[in-house]
Amino acid sequence: MVTHDEVRRIAALAKLYVSEEQLEEITGDLNGIIAFADAVASVDASGYDVEAEDGPAIRLRPDVTAASYEPELILKNAMESGDGFFVVRGRG
């Protein structure tokens, strides 16, 4: 079970402000997610070897460069930009 204090701490680490009213709701949501994860974890997977080489093979990318985007496009959704940079205020 996740407590209110843990939710406050996680929010602080993520630099999110959570009001007292939201706290109850978010704590409930997170506990629901954890209960779901617990349900998944309760499935018996003892016969399945996660490290077996015959699992799905990762598809790796060849080391080839591709054109990057125009910086205008990259900066399009920035809250603030200037001289080609993203601009962040304060101490981040």
Partner: protein, 471 residues
Amino acid sequence: MKWETVIGLETHVELSTKSKIFCGCTTAFGGEPNTHCCPVCTGQPGSLPVLNRQAVEYAVKAGLVLNCRINKYSRMDRKHYVYPDLPKAYQISQYDRPLCTGGYVELKNGRRINITRIHIEEDAGKLIHAGGKVLVDYNRGGVPLIEIVSEPDIRSAEEAVEYLEKLQLTLRAAGVSDCRMQEGSLRCDVNISLRAPGASSYGTRCEIKNLNSFVSVASAIEHEYERQRDILESGGVVEQETRRYDAYSGETSAMRGKENADDYRYFREPDIISIVLTDEEIEALRASLPELPDARKRRYVDVLGIPEADAAMIAKYRRVSDYFEAASYQTASPRIAATFIVTSMFSFISTEAAREEWLPPVSAEQLRELILLMEAGKINRNVAKQTLSRMLETGKSAAELLSPEELEPAGVDVDALCRKAIAENAAAASDYRGGKEKALKALIGAVMKESRGRAPAAEVEASLKELLSKT
């Protein structure tokens, strides 16, 4: 009381891939801000990372040359922290299943600095603090890195620097990174604590972040030793904290304490499935590794008879090694090429960077021609040395620079010299007759010494063999 310093290093090395670790953007250094970027490396919603094969292979090679175990199964994880250099608010890294574990670097004094692990991850962007604002450039964001974590086995600033130099040399030789500290492609965090000599447990450690030169590593360690010693000797307690090093003052200062210690909430990167390597893939990478500087140096000393110090200086630079091997190819004594390189050529090409790059005005073949002239007795050692200096200044070959008179045969009586050498070195002569081929070297040496290096080596050898076979 003299305290024992306990140091562990976390070294970040940028891999020499052409493209970034999860997208096709270039890894070229520099560029206008945010021009080497795409939705993947700027963390745009909906974009998906695809792992670069070359980054995995370079990391495996790094593991192999640093004596690590390569894990056939490893995986990527998300490391969370909120800071503007990280557009996704997490870095894709490896947590509990890194690519390489174990391993070591051996120092000159024979001590081994053990390596805990090597994992792959993406580099962060660059921040420029300007007034109250922070300017962000993500060109470096997504460049592939390996993080090499050492055990706390290092005991002094000198050992830390030697360890880093060895890493730099080895990784460069393996071709996985250029390890340029001034461009940030090799940088490290230093963990340091003090303890009473002989103590079995460690003291409280501090971490000094982001050091990007050997000088700052050494100076940060020395400053931190003094700071912690003063605290301990005045009866205080060292606080566990992260500190930053100021290159201008040479001092460290607190960044954040234990109460704000990193809480990265690692979890598996769901967009990248596990990395599974086969034995065949790992062995193919092992087979593709070039000869490393240590092995080259050994071979120069043991097989070619090069003095240890010269061999070390040559093997240190991959291009100089290749040059030396070409210049000494089929010469009677590889020592001559070695001596010319570390004396005349190294004083002409004097900086580390220039030796690394190694673009001398004299080609290896030109140096070889000069040495062959000397070994044939056409010129003596002094003339050869002077000619090499002129070759370096003018870029011309020995044949162009030497006058016909200078190239005249030395006029030594080979037969007489050889008879004299046999008479004066009876033991070597009888050894040779008794089947010890090596004894001939001593006789050739005696002739060369007597003629002050002017006798043609090939002719001397033939003449000696003939004389020795007669009686």
